[in-house]
């Protein structure tokens, strides 16, 4: 037995040796980034349910896949997915190749690529969402539309920075402040950007309490912020049951490409409201949501391999994501100001910023800022209307972009 040769082979196959091979330093940088993300998730509590999974997926991928080595033991293989998308490759759109040659995270990633996880997350979101505030004040839907301004502003900004149309569409949707929608659209249009876009989307969602208040102060006056809104009307159970059926039918007929997201969102909501499917509603909200979150987060994190992530365009995406979030907030606030005047100063424009999805954090920010200026003000339920409208608005925006660029 050649002990020396065996030891040499083990040393060369180890990840430690791979750090010193070509581009091995990129893995090291990505490991540091993964640790920073873990810190932000665990210590700073930035969207921990997703960020910890994403960070650990990134860590696992960069500990097991090296450009200089054959990726036999890797958990995620970017080259398999590059072939999957290459029309000239035999592996083009062939999940069989992924299943036979891929690692664990490649197999998890099939659910992202096929659009299954974001849709199942929407099923859970629907089961958790009370559309009552929106039904009692349907005009709040307009704020959900106004707050999609950042999506199209960032889309244009990305075109100006040299991104392709499909890439710009995927970057723009960060402004929808809706993680699952961003992931859904990006896997369809620009899967090569999934890592940075997912990170930007979830990081900025976590930073909403810091991003939105200065803009809320800038775009509203003291008088506006003090407006106390009247109590909304009570919504009957029948309305709540009919609503998801009507919305699913209407929106899917209008934009068929929204079917997976809107269909699952409204199915989840129907489970919640019927009163005869409590078990399904409970599963969608809890067990299913948690399981899918684990698969989604780790597989999205795995796409952050050094070669894909460490590029100048990642910085552009992070920057454009911030622009998208800010402009969406401004769009919602502007809509709120218009409604403030149109309603004879009865609507507090602070609820406009909740039109970016990010349920329910954006609504909580409206409540907190509103109470800072009027201690007796309770804007939460009023802000929930635009907030859930934002989910529908960003799904429509994603459906439009998918129709244009999805081929």
């Amino acid at each position: 037995m050649d002990i020396l040769g065996t030891l040499q082979k083990l040393a060369l196959e180890s990840g430690f040796a791979a750090f010193f091979m070509a581009d091995g330093w990129k893995n090291l940088v990505m490991i540091v980034i993964a640790l920073v993300l873990l810190y932000l998730g665990i210590v700073k509590k930035f969207e921990p349910l997703l960020l910890i999974g994403i960070a650990f997926g990134c860590l696992l991928a960069n500990l097991s896949y090296f450009v200089g080595q054959e990726g036999g033991n890797a958990l995620y293989h970017p080259e398999l997915w590059a072939n999957f998308l290459d029309q000239n490759s035999e592996a083009y759109h062939n999940y069989g190749v992924i299943l036979t040659q891929g690692g664990l995270l490649d197999i998890f990633y099939i659910g992202v690529k096929a659009g299954i996880y974001p849709s199942l997350i929407f099923l859970g979101v629907g089961a958790m969402t009370d559309f009552g505030p929106l039904l009692s004040n349907p005009k709040s839907l307009l704020l959900g539309a106004a707050a999609q301004l950042g999506v199209f502003f960032a889309f244009f900004g990305a075109i100006a920075l040299g991104f392709t149309g499909p890439q710009a569409a995927s970057i723009g949707i960060i402004g929808g402040a809706d993680g699952p929608t961003a992931i859904f659209l990006t896997t369809k249009l620009a899967p090569e950007l999934l890592g940075p876009i997912a990170i930007a989307a979830y990081s900025y969602m976590a930073l909403i309490p810091m991003i939105q208040p200065p803009l809320m102060k800038l775009f509203t006056t003291d008088e506006m912020r003090k407006v106390k809104m009247e109590q909304t009307r009570e919504v009957s159970k029948t309305e709540k049951i009919i609503f998801p059926i009507v919305v699913a039918s209407f929106v899917i007929l209008l934009l068929p490409s929204t079917a997976p997201l809107i269909g699952c969102l409204m199915l989840g909501n129907l489970f919640r409201e019927t009163g005869v499917t409590d078990r399904l509603s409970d599963t969608a909200q809890n067990a299913l949501m948690n399981i899918v979150t684990i698969f989604l987060a780790t597989s999205v994190g795995a796409t952050m391999v050094g070669g894909n992530f460490l590029q100048v365009k990642t910085l552009y995406i992070i920057l454009l994501g911030l622009v998208a979030f800010s402009i969406s907030t401004i769009g919602g606030l502007t809509g709120g100001v218009i409604m403030y005047y149109a309603s004879g100063k009865k609507i507090n424009p602070l609820i406009g910023s909740a039109g970016v999805s990010a349920v329910p954090m954006a609504a909580r920010v409206s409540q907190d800022v509103g109470r800072r200026y009027n201690k007796t003000n309770f804007l939460l339920m009023h802000a929930m209307g635009p907030n859930v409208a934002g989910v529908i608005g960003s799904a429509i925006a994603a459906g439009f972009l998918l129709s244009v660029f999805g081929g």
């Binding site: 929106l134 039904l135 349907p138 005009k139 839907l141 307009l142 959900g144 539309a145 106004a146 999609q148 301004l149 999506v151 199209f152 502003f153 889309f155 244009f156 075109i159 100006a160 392709t164 149309g165 499909p166 710009a168 009957s236 029948t238 309305e239 009919i242 609503f243 009507v246 919305v247 209407f250 929106v251 209008l254 934009l255 409208a389 529908i392 608005g393 429509i396 925006a397 439009f400 972009l401 244009v404 660029f405």
Partner: protein
């Protein structure tokens, strides 16, 4: 707009504006549908409310002639339709709870129009 991959700035701006308009159009149409649905529900609820008292009570309590100075007051916390005649709100709450219990129905499924004390004359 021949090339959707390598878009010019003009085409990009056009798609951005069109996209925002489509989102607004979709949302406005959805809002109108929801408003129409709400209107139908409110009207049908109002119709049901109009017909309900006839079915529920043969002789409405307020149709019984009142004796003495008995001003009707509205019970606190109701939708304003329950009238109390010579009845304390606390007693009314107890009566409604006992009745709901006796009927085996949740309180929010029962409709109380008025409660008055019947004073027997000897």
């Amino acid at each position: 707009m021949n090339d959707l991959v390598n878009l010019s700035l003009g085409d990009g701006a056009g798609i951005a504006v069109l996209g925002y308009l489509v989102v607004f159009l979709g949302i406005v149409m959805l809002m109108l549908v929801v408003m129409l649905m709400s209107r139908i529900m409110i009207v049908s609820k109002a119709k049901a409310a109009k017909t309900a008292p006839v079915k529920a009570v043969d002789i409405p309590a307020d149709a019984i002639p009142l004796t003495g100075p008995q001003a009707a007051i509205t019970a606190p916390g109701t939708a304003g339709e329950l009238k109390l005649y010579d009845t304390e709100p606390r007693d009314a709450a107890m009566i409604m709870a006992i009745l709901a219990d006796s009927l085996g129905k949740p309180l929010n499924e029962l409709r109380f129009l008025s409660i008055r004390e019947i004073k027997e004359e000897y």
